[in-house]
Symmetry: C2
Subunit: 219 residues, 2 copies
Amino acid sequence: MDRPREGVGRLPAGLDLDALAERVVWALRGRISFEVEASGRHVHLSVPHVEALFGKGASLSPERPLSQPGQFLCSQRVTLVGPKGDMRNVAVLGPERDKTQVEVSMTDALTLGISPPVRDSGDIRGSAQLVIRGPNGEVRLDEGVIVAHRHIHMTPDDAILLGVRDGDRVRVRVPGDRPVIFEEVLVRVSPKYSLAMHIDYDEANACGYRKGVRGNIVP
Amino acid sequence: MDRPREGVGRLPAGLDLDALAERVVWALRGRISFEVEASGRHVHLSVPHVEALFGKGASLSPERPLSQPGQFLCSQRVTLVGPKGDMRNVAVLGPERDKTQVEVSMTDALTLGISPPVRDSGDIRGSAQLVIRGPNGEVRLDEGVIVAHRHIHMTPDDAILLGVRDGDRVRVRVPGDRPVIFEEVLVRVSPKYSLAMHIDYDEANACGYRKGVRGNIVP
């Protein structure tokens, strides 16, 4: 026997609205895919470090915009100097940040001879040390080198559609030659963001990454 | 009301034996973990290629046994020569095989300047080319270079307990700093094998691999 329910019209008796809502949310999640972007090693620099590396009064100069609004690849490059090896021509991303942060892959870390922790961007306390060399000087970082934990950038609207909140950890499936489900992918929500998932090159290689591939949140 | 069923004693009416069996199988799978081993770049050599690289009459000499019974790391080393770079001191695994096969990671492939396909071991038709250099000569491979697809070696007894068959593709969860579920992991069953999963270093880095970590088959 049917009976009316407030707000949702006439529904069959015994219908489990919560279970239905859950199924709809998962159906939506399955349909909303997002581009997966592979990030190479790069540095974010503080204003004092920009000057230390590139000279008094220097500032970062944009070469091309990145997928996240306001972020850009700089024309400047730096060298990372580790106990076991150097890596030249490393990308600098702008704009300037409060604290300098270096993001490398585990493969890079082996080349450099350091053991950075896997961390969410911005969480650099007690992370690895490294020297950054620029054309005008060096910066000796006491901390700031991490392997960036994979994450998804999204707007609040994206988050509502995907049924997630800032700080959530989700599973994301990336299809391809070597399909992988990445667990504990950090959700980062801000009106300043654009929907995209970021992985590093180790993760890209492990899932047979090709540019343009799209990921999905899975149960 | 209870009723007797042949072979399984008295069971409650309406019991779904198939569903029960399925749950038991999954519970077992969850309990049976296996060591995950990360394989670095290496080559398997044919008898003619052993002689071409190490001299007439040469044979592979074991340095230490590997986890798979009868397989060993050789004291010999080779250099891989690609269009863009060389890799020295590359491991040779014995015993000799019918066909020479070179297994590299995608990161290695970038260094060498080649584009090998992701393949199951032994499936080398039309795979990538490379030169192998030894102390006594070179071998120019027209095919044989692959990125090995991740796989699990197991005995027929292991396969029964895990509810899988040779050639199956399963999902394996590897815990750690960056937990990952690897999909389409090939199951390889032989009485000659020992239970272990093999991944390459890109996959190891992507899951935050530490020696001794154990994987599980998951739904």
